[in-house]
Amino acid sequence: MYRYDDIDREMLADRAHEFRGQVGRRLSGEITEDQFKPLRLMNGLYLQLHAYMLRVSIPYGSLSPVQMRALADVSRKYDKGYGHFTTRTNIQFHWIKLGDTPDILDDLAKVGLHAIQTSGNCIRNITADPYGGATAEEADDPRVWSEILRQWSTFHPEFSFLPRKFKFAVTASAKDRTAAKVHDIGLAIRRNRDGELGFEVMVGGGMGRTPHIGATIREHLPTHHLLSYMEAILRVYNRHGRRDNMYKARIKILVAALGIDEFCRQVDEEWAKIDVKSIDLPDIELARIRAAFTPLKFETLPPRSDAYEAARESNPAFARFVRNNVRAHKQPGYAIVEISLKAPGATPGDANAEQMELIADLGERYSLGDIRVTHAQNLVLPHVKLDDLATVHAALATAGLATPNIDLVTDIIACPGLDYCALANARAISVATNIGERFADPDKAELVGELKIKISGCINACGHHHVGHIGILGVDKKGEEFYQLTLGGSGAEDASLGEMLGPALSYDRVAGAVETLVDTYLSVREGDERFLDTFRRVGVAPFKEAVYADPH
């Protein structure tokens, strides 16, 4: 993992000290709320319905056990003993006191954590493939490039006050686990026919009020030009992005307005003016950052583990866990383990302090000190020996963390919604748990197969509803909670935006409607089609007919 150096540590300590002064001046009345609000937001502190919420950055979703324990400590000392992992791979604490926040930032800074780039119109926390450095599918380790982007973007003087927030995702595998095509910039690392590494650069994707799938602006950007080319894109956006209307200020609106060809032309024109040598990363610096991620001390192991095979044979619960939560590792004898934060009845993405500490212990003991957060609000132990899998599974099970449902119907993304968020129209969490109850039988969930349900409590789409195989959006009808369903979205490599099913449904009807959608899918699916494949083949009509046939 990348370790902060003395300059980084000093900067974090300074930042926390600076915020302590700002909070003091706000509490004494020396500065007004209007003056203070942008300062607290720059430190990830929002005022929500019941308390302040502190959003802590987890750059490219990568955590050390020490950092995970520090998050558990924060949750216990300053919150109600839990945290909420988000679709930006950050963590949020929902019961924070303004007066405690400087102390929290101090505590976080001691372990290299902070709330920088978690709010405001800057380049936000970079997200990346949670299997980075572990999967054989990848062309390169996306964490290396994410860290480079983090260092370039943090406090970038030119891009700290953009027209609107700006989100990057970095993937390096054919299978996209980052939703790259619905980010302001999605980067896919690939090798060209000559074996050279480069980035497919996708721009102008996004969700929210006006969803767009990102368009490819460059098929193969040589990696050594990453920063200068990003600088050119950001400059064009910074210059022409709309500042008069926050709903039209994201880069997706600019790209759509100009057209991708004209946008590309302007970026190239800007790039030509840039002294690339002054911006692009020197090879020596690239080597320094790359060295922080490699090599891990993998043991030389046979690809087959007798202990693992025996456990799988004798323990059906472990076998189910392996089928759904364990993925192939690049190193023989190792596996990638996904930890679901979607247990039946649990709030999607929530982990309590004891769970965080257990995961820290397991990460330290069994995963080479490496823990990841996924954009689907789950966690990953990326480097577990096959020999240790049964032990890890048993330990997870003791803490309610062995739910075998990754990418299944109960692995639901949900934003905090109206239960916490000041912007929300409607609840999302209880909609998720209501649906989860309908599919509590794990056999049924496996029979249904891959089905990604994503729920947002408002049009800002923190729950990624636009790209859910089934998307659920909370809307406000005269102050009542209603839900707009969409079908056929995908945030993966086959990205698409969902198609509206029909009129919004009342809160009480949503879980039943999802069950009807699934039953309809099962009745018409062919072969091993996923829900998404079936929808793409048959269209919305049979689903619509089934859901709206019953007026109750």
Binding site: L27, H50, A51, K97, T347
Partner: protein, 119 residues
């Protein structure tokens, strides 16, 4: 019928206006039947910027002899999150909390509308 709500500056706690000060329980909130008195109290509340933030009036109504917020969002603020029944004010229990939980009906709240306008 209205009352006035805000969040306490130091900790974000949801609070309600009562005779020039702020209380944590909705059941103790001062009720306003007169717009002039309401406007004066809102102005007085906003004049305490080191005590509270986001001061705004909310509609309330009477259901089964108990006063409750009209808006579901405001009932939720007065109770706590539905996914964690032991968190927030609802954890205290009692008949006043039960009345809020059992209240029905809906309406818009100026809290969210103002927030969207400001953003």
């Amino acid at each position: 019928m209205k009352t006035i709500t805000a969040n306490r500056l130091i900790d974000g706690e949801v609070v309600f206006w009562r005779n020039g000060a702020w209380v944590e329980q909705f059941a103790k909130a001062e009720l306003f039947y007169d717009s002039a008195a309401l406007d004066a109290a809102v102005a007085a509340g906003k004049a305490q910027p080191t005590v509270v933030v986001e001061v705004y009036p909310i509609d309330v109504t009477e259901q089964d002899g108990v006063t409750v917020p009209v808006s579901y969002r405001e009932r939720l603020r007065a109770l706590g999150p539905t996914n964690e029944p032991t968190h927030g004010k609802q954890a205290q229990g009692g008949p006043e909390i039960a009345a809020l939980i059992n209240a029905v009906g809906s309406g818009h709240t100026s809290g969210r509308i103002d927030l969207l306008r400001k953003n």
